[in-house]
């Protein structure tokens, strides 16, 4: 269970968005955090609940939890800890 206060980097409610915007916004929010900070992402049920954690893990972040939102209108909450910067190929 994701403990209250775990999201040291804040909470992003993306339940009204669909892919790819869900991960685009998650990625941008993670860009602003320092390594080790944790972001809680709220998503509506569907593809994004699988694709966002998978994409975050592929980019070197740690997915600490995925669980249903008991209140607040439903959906899922994903807790992600920012990993070390993954080197890109640009420029």
């Amino acid at each position: 269970m994701i403990a209250p206060g775990s999201a040291t980097g804040g909470v992003v409610d993306l339940r009204r968005y669909a892919c790819p915007l869900t991960y685009v916004k998650t990625r941008i929010a993670l860009e602003r955090l320092a390594e080790g900070e944790r972001l809680e992402v709220w998503l509506s049920a569907g593809e994004a609940v699988e694709s966002v954690p998978r994409s975050a893990a592929e980019e070197g972040h740690r997915v600490l939890g995925v669980e249903a939102l008991a209140s607040e209108g439903g959906g899922y909450r994903i807790l992600i800890e920012k990993g070390p910067a993954v080197g890109g190929e640009l420029p």
């Binding site: 999201a7 790819p20 685009v24 998650t26 602003r32 640009l90």
Partner: protein, 234 residues
């Protein structure tokens, strides 16, 4: 604590989502593209694909600088329709490109306009040298493309790097193959990188031969005036 996930609006995030997800790219890079004013010197059939790339990548403003008329050969490119033959390339390109994106202002180059970056795809070596030197003196990053058959060369010149005169080809090259777009795509990509990641790219030259690009750093020729600082910044 609820956070605002982006400074870019949803329409821009959706439009540019593919490049925003490219490793190494990101929101700040996209914002720098959106803030750019790019002068494109040349809008013929060889340059046309580069203009398309710049618009689709989301530069904020594109000034097209080519007073010549659209020729029948230009129609073989990706931009100019047959109905544009005879109209100034600047106007024709601006009209065609404006239809592709609501996030980019495309217009003929205004007299006295001050760009923050320049793409030089001029049809003659003399024009290319003149435009590149103007960009160097203004202290703005610029990229020069030299067509040669289905390939050619692309020279990237960030502020302070060896100038185009130091790195240009000495021959004239063959006429560009109609419809060949790889060189223009490479030139556009280089300019986008110079804009999005200022200060991270040194001067370099790509030679594109049979679809294969090889890169090398550019070097300043002894005694070249580009060793002196630029006269003014952007």
């Amino acid at each position: 604590m609820s956070v605002n996930p982006s400074a870019l609006d949803d329409a821009r995030l959706a439009r540019f989502s593919r490049q925003l997800l490219v490793p190494g790219f990101g929101e700040a890079a996209q914002q720098r593209l959106a803030a750019a004013r790019v002068r494109a010197v040349g809008a013929d059939g060889v340059a046309a694909p580069a203009l398309l790339y710049l618009v689709q990548a989301g530069v904020g403003r594109l000034w097209v600088d080519d007073p010549e008329a659209v020729s029948p050969q230009d129609v073989g490119s990706w931009l100019h329709p047959p109905s544009a033959v005879g109209t100034p390339r600047s106007t024709a390109a601006a009209e065609a490109l404006s239809r592709l994106s609501g996030f980019v202002a495309v217009e003929p180059y205004p007299t006295g306009g001050v760009p923050t970056a320049t793409l030089v795809a001029a049809p003659s070596a003399a024009q290319a040298l003149h435009a590149a030197e103007a960009a160097r003196r203004a202290g703005v990053p610029h990229v020069v493309m030299e067509a040669d058959g289905d390939g050619g060369a692309v020279v990237s010149i960030p502020p302070g790097a060896p100038c185009y005169s130091c790195a240009r080809s000495t021959g004239t090259g063959r006429p560009a193959v109609p419809g060949a777009a790889a060189l223009a795509a490479l030139a556009a990509e280089e300019l986008l990188l110079l804009i999005a990641f200022p200060g991270t790219i040194a001067g370099r030259r790509f030679d594109l031969v049979r679809g294969v690009a090889t890169a090398r750093p550019t070097a300043r020729l002894a005694g070249c005036a580009c060793a002196a600082p630029a006269v003014m910044g952007p």
